[in-house]
């Protein structure tokens, strides 16, 4: 009996690579021989608007076509969304939360909410800073995927790096892969 589908929801703003992030995550899973499905919260959002994307990972064919309402993991690319959008809808306390911030959870005002999660399921990573450092642009998506690999174990860092390089050939891909690796190791080191 195969295990149940793993569902990820990524929140961010238009221009932050939210959709690419879901796509790269699905590619990483595909590279490991898994079935995966990535899709955006379809819309006509422009730069800066709140956006979502979804990714499902499974060992068998994924037939379900509905948006991810009850994610197993939530990736939050922009903390400014925390109090504007119902980010945590459908998230149960067994899930994972990965938040892009250079600060700590306490500063975000969600301490009470995250306290219910198992240890290590809620992590922050300074993805924007890592992106600036490795890519030269404040695009946190790749770094967060590295972090996701670290907290969830659903995909390996290797696969994430390969997926990133596939999506962004050349120096951009390399920089993003490095940012992902840096995030991965930063979280690993926090454990």
């Amino acid at each position: 009996m195969s295990r149940a589908v793993f569902q990820v929801r990524i929140h961010g703003r238009g221009g932050q690579g939210v959709v690419s992030s879901a796509e790269m995550l699905s590619v990483a899973a595909f590279l490991e021989g898994k079935h995966s499905q990535a899709f955006p919260s379809f819309g006509s959002e422009r730069m800066g608007a709140p956006v979502m994307a979804f990714c499902r990972i499974d060992d068998k064919e994924i037939r379900l076509r509905e948006p991810v309402g009850e994610p197993d993991a939530l990736i939050i690319q922009d903390t400014t969304l925390l109090h504007q959008v119902d980010l945590f809808s459908g998230v149960d306390a067994k899930g994972y939360l990965l938040i892009n911030t250079s600060g700590d959870i306490a500063q975000l005002g969600i301490g009470e909410f995250v306290a219910r999660f198992p240890a290590g399921h809620v992590q922050t990573v300074p993805a924007t800073e890592l992106a600036l450092e490795h890519v030269g642009r404040p695009v946190p998506n790749a770094a967060l995927l590295g972090g996701f690999a670290a907290i969830s174990g659903e995909v390996s860092l290797d696969s994430v790096e390969t997926a990133i390089r596939e999506k962004f050939p050349g120096a951009v891909g390399e920089g993003n892969a490095k940012a992902a690796a840096a995030a991965f190791h930063a979280i690993e080191s926090q454990r």
Binding site: A22, E23, S26, V27, A29, F30, L31, H35, S36, Q37, A38, F39, P40, F42, G43, S44, I62, R63, L64, R65, E66, P67, G69
Partner: protein, 424 residues
């Protein structure tokens, strides 16, 4: 070759492998990524001598396709929604002229209110235009149907729409087995038109036909659709043999053996539906599903046979014939004419409304106990509707429905009453 790939890109790659000679394209969400992908491939020289025409409208897109096809070129275009309506005149014209154009429809709702999200209103509006309409459940099937569509179109000299759910499929990254170009070449021979604009053998195409022959012309077009009822399963079988996987056909039953309740749907919702069937079967309920791949021609006999053992039929459809109800359900009722089998209509997913497994399960369950109203509007916000209806009753005049509803739902600024402008 397996790829984790966006649906649009997969379709673009499949189309490219079919070696179209002319592609006419106009952007419209959610179809756009397909023609963008093809534009790149044509520019890179990956599609032979294919000519890519950036037209100024969908009307021009299909018109250019008509010209190209009449000149003997394998021709492709794609559109969605308003775009399909804008080319409506040409849609009928292409089929009337018997031109085997293949067109992808990235299915999307039709405004007003403008809405870029998925439903099947666009394809349904052209269901009786003389084109064949094949609906894909997955991106794999979308790829496979395009390959079959060119052969089918050219075999019968009739245009084919391959309907792919906008966003849900077109924008979804998933695993697709992209066929080998040689494999496609073997399956799809070169285009040999039955008529072509040729200076060495000129003809006049597109005559004006009066009452003395118009009925016959229409009958013959209908006859082609009837021929397609045989050609489509044969093609699917041939495809399965060539590519080693099932795709296409007229209909595809899922766990219908012994099912008392059979749920019918077009397109991608069949995936969710299958999950729901599995769940309900696991729960001991006698439920099955049938995917209708070919909406035109509509497989009346095949459905009647497949539904012979069903006690009831539920049609989940992403369209609404205003003033009537379900379009697919009406067609299904025709398949079951003379039988007492109840057919429930579930109008779902209009304008991109999510169709969740939970909701599907709920309405199917209601159907199994024959407690489902017909038609049923899946996950309709009755509070919003009732509130607007109450307002109508109060003011005896309908306003802009969409705006009022959004206000009701608190999604746009709510102005105090009395500031909307003059009322009766």
């Amino acid at each position: 070759m397996l790829k984790q790939i966006e649906g649009s890109q997969a379709v673009a790659e499949a189309v490219a492998m079919c070696r179209p000679e002319v592609i006419a394209a106009y952007p419209i969400t959610p179809q756009t990524h397909i023609v963008e992908g093809l534009a790149a491939m044509v520019r890179e020289g990956k599609v032979g001598t294919c000519q890519y025409i950036n037209v100024e409208s969908e009307f021009a897109a299909l018109s250019a396709a008509i010209g190209a096809s009449a000149a003997g070129a394998r021709t492709y275009t794609a559109t969605s929604s308003q775009g399909l309506l804008f080319m409506a005149e040409a849609v009928y014209n292409a089929s009337g002229l018997g031109l085997p154009i293949v067109m992808t429809i990235g299915n999307r709702a039709i405004g007003a209110p403008i809405n870029i999200w998925n439903d099947h209103s666009d394809s349904m509006s052209m269901a009786n235009s003389g084109w064949l309409q094949l609906f894909a459940e997955t991106n794999q099937e979308a790829v496979d149907l395009h390959i079959q569509a060119f052969r089918l179109a050219e075999q019968l000299s009739v245009p084919v729409m391959v309907c792919v759910d906008g966003f849900i499929l077109t924008h979804a990254y998933e695993r697709v087995d992209i066929p080998d170009p040689d494999q496609v070449d073997r399956f799809l021979p070169g285009f040999e038109p039955v008529q072509v604009l040729d200076p060495d053998d000129p003809i006049s195409m597109g005559a004006m036909v009066g009452p003395e022959a118009f009925m016959e012309v229409r009958y013959l077009a209908h006859h082609k659709q009837m021929q397609a009822l045989e050609a489509i399963p044969a093609l699917a079988a041939d495809f399965a043999e060539s590519f080693g996987r099932e795709s296409g056909g007229l209909i595809a039953p899922y766990r219908t053996e012994g099912a008392e309740t059979v749920v019918l749907a077009l397109g991608s919702v069949n995936g969710t539906l299958k999950d729901a069937v599995d769940e309900m079967r696991a729960d001991g309920q006698s439920v099955g599903a049938i995917k209708i791949v070919s909406f035109r021609p509509f497989p009346l006999a095949q459905l009647r046979e497949a539904l012979a053992g069903a006690k009831r039929v539920v049609v989940v459809e992403k369209d609404l014939a205003l003033g009537l109800g379900g379009i697919v359900a009406s067609n299904v009722r025709m398949a079951l004419r003379g039988l007492a089998t109840p057919v429930y209509t579930v109008i779902a997913g209009l304008g991109g409304r999510s169709i969740t497994k939970r909701s599907l399960t709920r309405v199917i369950a209601a159907a199994t106990t024959d407690t489902l109203e017909d038609p049923h509007f899946l996950d309709l916000d009755w509070q919003a509707v009732d509130s607007e209806l109450a307002r109508w009753k109060e003011r005896r005049r309908a306003g802009p429905i969409a705006e009022n509803l959004l206000r009701e739902m608190g999604l746009v600024g709510h102005r105090p009453h009395g500031t909307e402008g003059p009322t009766s």
